[in-house]
């Protein structure tokens, strides 16, 4: 008779040996570094050019994001339509994104089309002209989008909590208001482009089924440009808000409250960072976490609740985030603090800790599946000035950190007095 009550034998995931496939590295003639992962069964690849051109370098609010967006709105020989049509005709996707320090231009394509696509990327990053009319459309549509977003409690809460944590003048804390869009000029964008793209610092990541002549092709297109290797960094002063508790009414008809509870936290270079990955998982980092089990699966106050460390290069923050029913929002906040208290006072039992270790290792194993995921790990390591040992050290931390160490960590970082507390309804 089949025994359905006891689980089949398993291999503990912590017994798995995880390996990060090494990259190949090329250096273009101008010194720009290219990191490549050649893997995968499908004939597809992704390329990402990372520029140090993010928000922290802009002279006025919204300039970096607008510059990044407008890389696809016209060069001296192509209109926005022609640029888009070129990529789309070959079934390729060319995207821009802008973060705090970096801004990327990325390409996803069938490998066979790479040679006809790269020249247009080169045009975008060397010869964008930022037409007035395109900027006017961008300003108008961004303001409309913003006005819709501002009705959402989660959007408002995300902006405010960052501003409390870092200050409104810090790149991690500032946000865009309609007047910032109105103040944008093509001159500002051209200056930003000139300094941070045309003559900027750049690093390139490529992954997928790579053509044999990849280096030659990349060097032909990008090896003689004025872009430089290395990175550019600015350290900003954090001016956190003096007041810690906020209740904000954004929508009189709102039926949910967006809850954000957050504190400062060091970046990846700090020894506590990788330990915190494990404590965070126990606390609110995955579906089986304590916050989820208590606040969703036991009380039904919310559809989902998560905690996480923000991914920043510099000093960062630890957050708990959820949208809960309006009437149970305050009760949710109380439960969050109760879960912190339990972690400060009681040791996590071995069974739960093993579950979390296995879950984390299993999810890294699943995450390393495929070339795009592998290059994503490497990008994180390289841009944060870490090395591969960091990856193996984090695996080791997951496998070996003790309940006592986690309790000490909880006492250091899960103190309610250190947290900002915000509910936006």
């Amino acid at each position: 008779m089949l025994n359905r009550t006891s689980p089949p034998d398993i291999k503990d995931a912590i017994e798995f040996n995880l390996e990060l496939k090494p990259y190949e590295k090329f250096v273009l003639d101008n010194g720009v570094e290219v990191y490549a992962i050649d893997a995968g069964a499908q004939d597809v690849l992704q390329m990402e050019m990372v520029f140090y051109a993010g928000n922290c370098f802009e002279k006025n609010n919204a300039v970096a994001t607008a510059t990044s967006y407008m890389l696809k709105t016209g060069t001296s020989s192509k209109t926005a339509f022609e640029i888009n049509e070129h990529f789309e005709y070959f079934g390729a996707y060319c995207n821009r994104s802008c973060q705090n320090e970096t801004a990327s231009v990325s390409l996803h394509t069938l490998s066979k089309h790479l040679p006809v696509l790269l020249p247009v990327i080169k045009e975008m990053i060397t010869d964008s002209i930022f037409p007035e009319e395109e900027l006017a459309i961008y300003i108008q549509n961004s303001k409309q989008q913003l006005s819709v977003s501002l009705q959402k409690c989660d959007f408002v809460a995300n902006r405010l909590i960052d501003a409390f944590l870092f200050g409104e003048n810090h790149p991690y804390g500032k946000y865009t208001v309609a007047a910032d869009y109105d103040a944008l000029t093509t001159t500002q964008l051209k200056e930003h482009f000139q300094q941070y793209y045309l003559n900027g610092h750049c690093v390139i990541f490529v992954a997928g089924k790579l053509p044999a002549d990849l280096f030659t092709v990349l060097n032909e297109q990008f090896g003689h440009l004025a872009i430089k290797p290395g990175k550019q960094q600015i350290t900003n002063n954090i001016i956190a808000s003096a007041i810690k508790k906020y209740r904000i009414k954004n929508d009189v008809e709102g039926v949910q409250g967006a809850i954000r509870i957050a504190r400062d936290f060091p970046n990846r270079l700090h020894p506590d960072f990788m330990k915190m990955m494990v404590l965070n998982a126990v606390f609110g980092g995955f579906f089986g976490s304590r916050l989820m089990s208590n606040i969703r699966e036991d009380k039904g106050y919310t559809y989902g609740i998560h905690s996480y460390v923000q991914s920043h290069f510099q000093d960062t923050a630890f957050l708990i985030s959820t949208e809960a029913g309006k009437d149970v929002a305050e009760a949710t906040v109380e439960e969050i603090y109760k879960e912190m208290e339990i972690l400060r006072e009681e040791l996590i039992d071995e069974e739960e800790l093993l579950l979390v270790r296995n879950y984390l290792i299993g999810s890294i194993l699943g995450d390393l599946d495929g070339p795009f995921q592998i290059i994503g790990r490497w990008k994180n390591i390289i841009l944060n000035d870490l090395d591969v040992q960091y990856f193996y050290d984090s695996i080791k931390t997951i496998k070996t950190i003790s309940a006592e160490e986690l309790k000490i960590l909880a006492n250091k970082y899960l103190q309610p007095a250190d947290f900002y507390e915000l509910i936006v309804i």
Partner: protein, 412 residues
């Protein structure tokens, strides 16, 4: 070409095996042939609520998630108007854990009253988060009710109203399980570094003993052909006026489906698409405009939605949109434009196939449609679409009497 093998257990459970030796992970995907279209009109949102309850413990196992996490696995599920899909991914060495968990909840749930009480609340919060506490969040409820008179696509997967979810009783849950969660109504797909023989042994061991149950016979009301255009005006607390238009399209297995999909790409698949170029960039009437289709098993909807630039009148915006549609109906498309959308489709399919999880889920969905091998013939069907078919299809879809329109006004 995606290779797979198929066998059927005596109780009617169809099993597909897709071998991929390159990954250390295995995917176990179970799809059930039940969605929101199978609900009683007075008890909507049930199929989706039921999906939540599938994680609330089964007859022999108090918790689904914990043993899976112990085995290094992750899982999730989704419900649509047509189907309910459960998937998990875990290291292949531990694959038997997934068989144990999935087979026990196919055998029987625990039907725990507390789980029902909690998940009712969780789903109500999900409802609020996505459809109430969000600008324009109610529009697709209204659009479905406007577009469908009889077919159960009249309501959203989340349900018509909170009350339907709040009123669910444990007996409803039991009845639903017996009716729909039987081996004959399910497809199991196992993907990863696995062999057919090993999967056969595990499937027989864990799923073989489950009683066959009855095969559910779907007999849904047929939606009558729409004969007059329908309109609805909404005034709500949103900052910007928006225009929504929907037209009835063919079912998923109809050969016209492929032309329909390409039409949506031509109209709004990217920065060089027609609606974006004409209405956002050149005429500056909309701040964004999107065209998509529901992709549903039964005859679905093609929809166009856009937000108007402040100061633009609804009539002017709509007229300009319809002008683009008439141009498509009268002049058709060039060979270059057709090639563009075919190329896009080719690369979209290639990117989708990168993930073993997506291959597993697609195999299950195609098998549920009638034949898993559809996964391997889709690209050829898109490639075979001619500009003439596209022209004919655009005339048929965008017929005046086939149209449903919502003017969604800001009352600010």
């Amino acid at each position: 070409m995606i290779q797979y093998e198929k066998f059927t257990l005596d109780n009617g459970l169809r099993v597909l095996v897709h071998q991929d030796k390159s990954t250390p992970m295995a995917v176990v995907n179970v799809i059930y042939d039940v969605g929101a279209r199978d609900e009683n009109p007075d008890k909507t949102g049930f199929a989706h609520l039921f999906e939540h309850l599938m994680f609330g413990g089964s007859i022999n196992i108090p918790s689904y998630d914990e043993p899976l996490q112990v085995a290094g696995g992750e899982n999730n599920a989704f419900t649509t108007n047509d189907l309910t899909n459960y998937y998990c991914q875990l290291p292949v060495e531990n694959i038997e854990t997934a068989f144990w968990l999935e087979s026990d909840r196919m055998l029987s749930l625990a039907f725990d009253a507390k789980s029902l009480a909690v998940q009712r609340k969780v789903v109500c919060e999900e409802f609020k988060e996505h459809y109430i506490n969000k600008p324009y969040g109610d529009v697709w409820h209204k659009m479905r009710e406007l577009s469908y008179i009889r077919h159960p696509y009249r309501w959203m997967t989340i349900g018509k109203e909170l009350k339907h979810v709040e009123d669910v009783k444990l007996q409803d849950v039991k009845d639903f399980f017996l009716k729909h969660y039987t081996p004959a109504n399910a497809v199991l797909v196992v993907a990863g570094n696995v062999t057919l023989d090993a999967v056969k042994i595990l499937a027989q061991k864990w799923f073989g003993p489950i009683a066959a149950g009855d095969k559910y016979q779907r007999n849904l009301p047929i939606e009558p052909v729409q004969t007059v255009p329908r309109f609805l005006e909404v005034k709500a607390k949103v900052p910007i006026d928006a225009l929504y238009k929907c037209w009835h399209i063919c079912s998923r297995l109809d050969k016209r489906y492929y032309a329909t999909e390409l039409i949506t790409e031509i109209l709004s698949g990217g920065g060089s698409s027609r609606l974006f170029q004409a209405l956002v960039k050149e005429k500056k009437l909309f701040s964004n405009i999107d065209c998509s289709h529901s992709g549903s098993t039964d005859a679905g909807l093609l929809s166009i939605e856009g937000k108007l630039v402040k100061g633009v009148s609804m009539k002017d915006a709509e007229a300009a949109l319809m002008e683009e549609i008439y141009t498509l109906q009268q002049k058709g498309i060039s060979e270059k434009e057709l090639q563009k959308v075919k190329n896009k489709t080719e690369s979209m399919l290639a990117f989708e196939d990168m993930s073993v999880m997506s291959r597993a889920t697609n195999l299950a969905m195609y098998e549920l449609l009638g034949d898993a091998n559809l996964i391997n013939t889709e690209l050829d069907k898109y490639q075979a679409v001619t500009s003439e078919e596209l022209l004919n299809e655009s005339k048929a879809i965008f017929h005046e009497n086939n149209c449903n329109t919502i003017y969604y006004y800001s009352n600010n």
